[in-house]
Symmetry: C2
Subunit: 209 residues, 2 copies
DNA sequence: CAATTTACTGAACGGTGTTCATTATATTTG
DNA sequence: CAAATATAATGAACACCGTTCAGTAAATTG
């Protein structure tokens, strides 16, 4: 009786069809401007159908959120081959910045947007699940910073503060950039992007022994 | 003929009545959740009336945006009395972080929100005006960093990169905090706030000669 | 083939920002 | 002072939004 299996497969396919359409539209137009109705139109179904596969718009958000982390983590795979922790830390920062520049809409969803993050506050439900990826990235960062401390490569003494500082610097730079606040510096796009990497270099020079 | 003057005054008063109601509601409920209709209700006028005093919701946003900078700049007044540029830089960072923690909704409006920032992209209209305050703050930061360089107090050599790095660090920390992303560090609110200041201290220690 | 389960629809609900013809008020003019 | 004009405010209407749900059509089962 392969009917149940086929149904399950079809259900999964439909979910992915919706998710693919939603992803494309989110990345092109942004979260707010992408309506359920427009997604339904795109895949030629009625709006109500989407609610048979996703509880609400937030759940679509979470699904795309998770996709973003999968892409990001894939880019970070190569880091495991770098033995020197300081070089690894630097490359981690570079990859982070590059990911944000290459995928600004994903980055926005993952690290800037507020809207559907309620689940993060209540600390239950799918809100935390979609951050398990983020947690592993943060763990990796802390591990690398700890290794730099252990090998006496940096002036940093507190791993927690050190990791937060590194993350905050790169997040600060790319989010100010993505949300147009760096336009105050009166530099063109290309120069700004270079400046972000220079900022990372400066930071690493400052903390290196 | 004092009629014209009175009318002008009344118009200004009405604008401020609307702005006060809007500000209160924005700060309490956030930008998105505050509807024009609700503002109109609060001041006991019809929704259409608001459009006689503000072009659209974005203009209301800009007005509050500017108010935020006025508050922030007031807090920064005391900085002018600090002669040592490095101490001034540190205090600038402290005030910035404290402002964000005390006025998270203002901070959100000023540095994180995307929505009505179109005007920043097109570089004309009221979009730039509401940033003139921000520009002066950024100028002050650059000046202070330059002074630190001139007096040989820091390892930084490029004032543009140095200023951006400082701003990005504090913005990164407070925006990750405001948007709940620091929750993955598993620390309570009070500890997190302390960590933000520790991050600033660490940064300044790192760049000090 | 009939009964039942499943998938989907699309109208409807209560909301949003915004516009505009209409109305009420206040001022100016004859 | 009354009529004409200018100003201010209205609130219904428009085109959207996320979401729900009674109803329908198709597929599966017995």
């Amino acid at each position: 009786m392969g009917v149940a299996e086929r149904k399950e497969r079809e259900k999964q396919e439909m979910r992915e069809t919706i998710l693919a359409a939603a992803t494309q539209m989110f990345l092109e137009e942004g979260y707010d401007k992408t309506s359920i109705r427009a997604i339904a139109d795109k895949i030629e179904y009625s709006p109500g159908t989407i609610y048979l596969y996703f509880k609400d718009k937030d759940e679509l958000f979470y699904a795309i959120h998770a996709q973003g982390f999968v892409i990001m983590l894939a880019k970070m795979e190569k880091l495991k081959k770098i033995a020197d922790p300081l070089a690894r830390l630097k490359e981690l920062g570079r990859i982070y910045i590059q990911f944000a520049l290459d995928n600004p809409e994903y980055y926005d969803l993952m690290f800037i947007m507020r809207g559907p993050m309620k689940a993060l506050e209540t600390l239950d439900g799918s809100g935390m699940e979609c951050w398990s990826y983020g947690e592993s990235t943060h763990e990796f960062l802390k591990l690398t910073v700890q290794e730099c401390i252990d090998k006496n490569l940096v002036t940093i003494t507190d791993v927690q503060v050190g990791a937060m500082t590194m993350w905050s610097l790169v997040h600060g730079m790319v989010s100010l950039h993505i949300r147009q606040r760096l336009s105050i510096m009166n530099e063109d796009e290309k120069t700004l992007k270079k400046l972000l990497f220079k900022g990372l270099d400066q930071m690493l020079n400052a903390i290196s022994k």
